[in-house]
């Protein structure tokens, strides 16, 4: 899923103008003004974390609101089933954002004085250039949609995450920063995936590695295998992550409470 933010005066108007030009399924996430997430006329949400209204005639129409999800949670939820998410009014988010007027977002995709000054094509390019928002669910849904899914009775997955401590005495890790050799890394991923998919009983293999800075507890890397039976699914997941770590040019810098260093220097 590609994510782009809009911030500043006219952000909503601009978002609404861009949405119809995007291919695939588009989700829009807008900041509500109410402190508790509720809007006028919606009544109280006391004691309720999430309230859904679903169309009773099976047309799929729904609306929802709640009190316990941040933007990150919502984007994670959307990532598996939407192609694009447009986000309005979250300048502090780690999302490339179109800045209008005096807006000063954390990540500026492009900036302009007013919405009328922004070329729609430039926004579509910014959407395409953004790093994709990928979760484990994104990859699981992707393999389930395989034309060979009817042959598969198993999905095995591996998730690598940022470990805070590797023992009681180990200084706590605050974050890891990953640097990737763009282009070559993607080639290596595709090679490993296609090698593993040649195995008997293995139908799909997909991998994804996040880059940039990730905090303790955040997911780093996913390997997902769709296979006929569990034995080849487990074995292929294990070989997939081993080959990824040996062959894909991605470099890891670790920041602990005491210091920061390149991990390859310590191994």
């Amino acid at each position: 899923m590609q994510v782009l933010g809009f911030a500043g005066p006219g952000a909503r108007t601009l978002c609404d103008r861009v949405a119809p030009h995007l291919d695939g399924r588009v989700a829009v996430v807008k900041r509500t003004d109410g402190v508790d997430g509720s809007q006028a006329g919606d009544g109280s949400l006391e004691g309720v974390a999430a309230a859904y209204r679903v169309g009773g005639d099976g047309d799929g129409a729904w609306s929802a609101r709640g009190s316990d999800r941040g933007l990150g949670d919502v984007l994670d939820d959307l990532a598996a089933t939407y192609d694009h998410a447009l986000v309005v009014g979250f300048p502090a988010a780690a999302v490339p954002t179109v800045a209008l007027g005096d807006a000063d977002p954390e990540q500026v995709a492009l900036s302009a004085e007013t919405a009328a000054d922004v070329d729609t094509e430039a926004i579509l390019d910014a959407v395409a250039d953004a790093a994709p928002h990928v979760t484990l669910d994104t990859l699981v849904e992707q393999v389930k949609a395989s034309p060979r899914a009817h042959r598969a009775g198993a999905i095995a997955t591996f998730t690598g995450r940022v470990r805070a401590k590797d023992g009681e005495e180990d200084p706590r890790t605050l974050e890891l920063t990953f640097e990737k050799y763009e282009g070559v890394a993607e080639d290596r991923f595709r090679t490993i995936e296609s090698d593993l998919m040649e195995r008997e009983g293995v139908e799909e293999v997909v991998m994804f590695h996040r880059t940039g800075t990730l905090g303790a507890g955040e997911d780093i890397v996913f390997v997902v295998v769709l296979a006929g039976h569990r034995e080849e699914a487990f074995e292929t997941v294990s070989d997939g992550i081993d080959r990824l770590k040996d062959e894909v040019p991605i470099f890891k810098r670790e920041t602990t409470v005491e210091e920061d260093f390149w991990v390859h220097d310590r191994e």
Binding site: G160, F178, E179, Y181, G183, V184, D187, K245, D246, E247, V248, P249, I250, F251, K252, R253, W262, V263, H264, D265, E267
Partner: protein, 90 residues
Amino acid sequence: MGTVTWRLFADLAEVAEGREHTVSVDPDGTVGDAIDALLAESTGLRERIFDGDTIADDVNLMRNGSPADPTESVADGDELAMFPPVTGGR
């Protein structure tokens, strides 16, 4: 005379004070010549990447996305890369 672009990663980019360096090499030049040209403008890198007279075992070389050797020829516009062991972990 042609030019090739070096891509450096992780601590190599820090030592060389830059992730990309474009250097000039002779038309019949090699990856080794491009390394010499890089070292001429990046003081400190020699100590990091050489073990005696040869490139250290933990330094990887690539030419246009494929593993490369210092004796290999380069062509104008090539992308060369130099990086430490890829991130391991148990």
